[in-house]
């Protein structure tokens, strides 16, 4: 099966200030890597999941699973992003929630999730 899909890269309001604090070179590297992971999601799901990690699992509104993942950009830089398929609009969207150098990965993941999921009635760590 052949097709065309749009890959959309987004940035949350919460993440933008931190993202813009990185150098232009680092920002470009992050966006290029996100593009790479997004394309992998579309073309080679097995390889995508070799790179995408979920250090913490969440259950949303008692019925939905989280699509938040942690990715390594390089030895220093890490990101947390959601990767979401959208068949109605024929696209895959990668939404950058957090970018960081140091710090506990699980703690950063939980903080990003808490903020991102605040619109939902219930979010449970499982």
């Amino acid at each position: 099966m052949q097709g065309d899909e749009n890959l959309i890269i987004e940035l949350t309001d919460d993440c933008e200030k931190k993202f813009r604090s990185f150098s232009d070179k680092e920002q470009t590297e992050i966006v290029n890597k996100i593009e790479y992971f997004g394309e992998l999601y579309m073309t080679d799901r097995a390889e995508f999941f070799r790179n995408a990690r979920q250090p913490v699992f969440f259950r949303i509104n008692d019925k939905f699973d989280s699509s938040l993942y942690y990715f390594r950009i390089n030895n220093n830089l890490k990101i947390i992003a959601s990767v979401d398929e959208d068949p109605v609009f024929e696209s895959v969207t990668v939404t950058l929630l957090s970018a960081f150098r140091d710090g506990d990965i699980e703690k950063n993941f939980r903080t990003a999730a808490q903020s991102f999921y605040r619109q939902f009635a219930s979010v449970e760590q499982i």
Binding site: D4, E39, T43, N61, S66, E85, F89
Partner: protein, 108 residues
């Protein structure tokens, strides 16, 4: 031809009970737009502002019942069919996001 919309969880019934009277016609109009194949063909949903709910593995969409009040429906997309999943009151807001890149990918 219409898009198939399934209400196995009684969302329409729940809407009749909990939606303020003023929004009941809007709810009907929202369902009409979601069933309209042309809306899906041209990817144009002016009434419901249909969009993917991010952060959830299951393919869930949000459709406005009323933009001002924030009353909305969540639907799940499975095999080309839309399933009504939730009706939500308007106090919680989506995160603000900014698109930084968009690219077309051809896949096999």
């Amino acid at each position: 031809m219409t898009k198939i919309l399934i209400d196995e969880y009684g969302i329409i019934n729940e809407a009749c009970k909990i939606l303020p009277y003023d929004y009941k016609i809007s709810f009907l109009e929202a369902l009409g737009e979601l069933e309209d194949n042309n809306s899906h063909k041209f990817k144009n949903f002016p009434k419901t502002r249909l969009h993917r709910v991010k952060g959830i593995k299951q393919i869930v969409y949000r459709a406005d019942i009323d933009k001002t009040s924030g009353w909305r429906i969540h639907l799940q997309h499975i095999g080309g069919v839309l399933y009504l999943r939730d009706i939500i009151e308007g106090q919680k807001h989506d995160d603000v996001v900014k698109v930084i890149k968009k690219k077309k990918i051809r896949y096999k």
